[in-house]
Amino acid sequence: MSEIELLQRRLSRERLARKEAERLLEEKSRALFETNLKLQEHATHLEAEITERKRTEARFRNITESLAEGLLLVAPDGVILYANQRMTNLIGHSPGELLGKTIRDLVVPAAEGQPARAQFWEFEDTGPVCITADLELCHKDGHRLTAQVHAAPYYDSSGTCRAMIGALTDISDRRRAEAELVRLNDRLVEASRLAGMAEVATGVLHNVGNVLNSVNVSSTLIRDQLRQSRLSHLLRAIALLREHEANLPDFLSRDPRGRQLPAFLQLVTTHLQEENLRLLKEADGLDANLQHIKHIVAMQQSFARVGGAEETIAARDLLEQAIELHTGALQRDHIELIRHYQAHPTLLVDRHKVVQILVNFLRNARHALAEAKVPTPTITVLLETTPEQTVRLAVTDNGIGIPTENLTRIFSHGFTTKRDGHGFGLHSGALAAREMGGRITVASEGPGRGATFALELPAGAASRNPLRPPG
């Protein structure tokens, strides 16, 4: 084999190889060109997509930033992953400062008794759940605020929950207003209690006044009696006898004055006896009246106690006590009082509370009658046991009545139709009734057709608390 032949073969191989390589290169170039075209197409597409994404993202950011609530994205360990600008208004820290902090860094240390909620995370069998909680937070400037948080699980695109998203609202103002409302309500309840006591006291004064009138009459009578006493006649006779001490028999038998003396003395004695009897009677009356006053005062004292202890009392006694406090007024206003005691149940209650409610009922009835100016003003007091075994104490009047639309509002706070009314008599009464396990109802067939206020209470000690040992 000659060297030339060998070289020729090698050369032709190299040529062939070069051609093959060029062919492959061309093929690859074409493929590359096509790929490039595709890539360009992709790039345009991607660009459009990115622009759209950016727009959507900007819109979402706008939404989260425009929200009235502060937004927090919180990891399971409490670390803050995202905060919107609104959080800054709420808590003073910028979103940048909040990132990486934990919720624990924001809550007031003393309020850490609620760690699960303070971390936003709460789990049930099914996983994390939505929560609503009030958090005590510490503002950057040091002041404290109450924020209400609504937190919900935040799912990523794969459906796993890796964070909770919470919306926070500052409710400090609402909290303060609520506290103020509670305080005002307490004050109203207290005022109502005092008003009730004043009502009782007025009743007492009225009754005492009435009785004092009798006492006054009695004492005037006794004084007048004593002033006109026949005792002076007796003294005059005694002086006459003294004068004729030396010859009394002569004086008594001969002197015309002496001869009249025995008959005169007889007369004076009779008069004195009668006088004595009258005074005795008057003194008895005086004594009775004083006893009455003592009784009234004692009763008032028993009401003066605040929140007295519960005792077992006959229901009718409670009604009678309330009525007694109004007797003077009822007489003065010529109101006829009718009693319908259809049952004689006992109650285990705080006497003070019940009588105060009943006094209010009677007062309302009196006012309703005063305004109505009916020819025969009447108050009917009813005592009965209901089929549900509750005791019902009702006060009905034939006064101005109540329009239907007022019936539902009548127990609400501050409601009154009276010009000088406080509007909390029935409200506080209703509260007290509920405290005792009972309720207050009102019924009226409308304006001019009277009204009935009723207090319903659980009957007796046994049914009130069956576990209480008897006695």
Partner: protein, 182 residues
Amino acid sequence: MKGIVFTEFLEMVEKTFSPETADQIILASELPHGGAYTAVGTYPHAEMVSLVVHLSEVSATPVPDLLRTFGRHLFSRFVALYPAFFPSGMDTLTFLAGVETHIHAEVLKLYPDAQLPRFDTRRAGEDELVMDYRSDRAMHDLAEGLIHGCIQHFGERVHLRKEVVDGTGGTCARFVLRRERL
């Protein structure tokens, strides 16, 4: 099989034996394209087998020896052609442990039609590496040459032991490398 394997093989034959030997085995193999190989082309694996077998006949050298020699040559070429695979601070065992996951993985990206062996490697301590070779082409001798080339390149003293798994027709082999610390 990738053309680079053929071009490098023939280059080695020309250098180690002679251009005549290369011409001779090409003619003897009766190749369809007359032995015009280009590194960027792809050719049947059987052509490589035919070339090696004819070289063995012409040179009276056993095929395994030829493949091992070719392995060493090929590795030195890889070093020259792909310096990116050889960062400083690299050592024999670390490089070989990454052939499958690092090197051949990259090769496959460049040439999706490449037919590569599978290596399962296991580091048994700082200075020991076990490589399990598996390939239908049964070219463990080429692998052995490549590994020797690698050891030589990094200039370390690494002892290599090869076990061909019986009854697999040479498709499975284990390489155990132990490095000696100086």
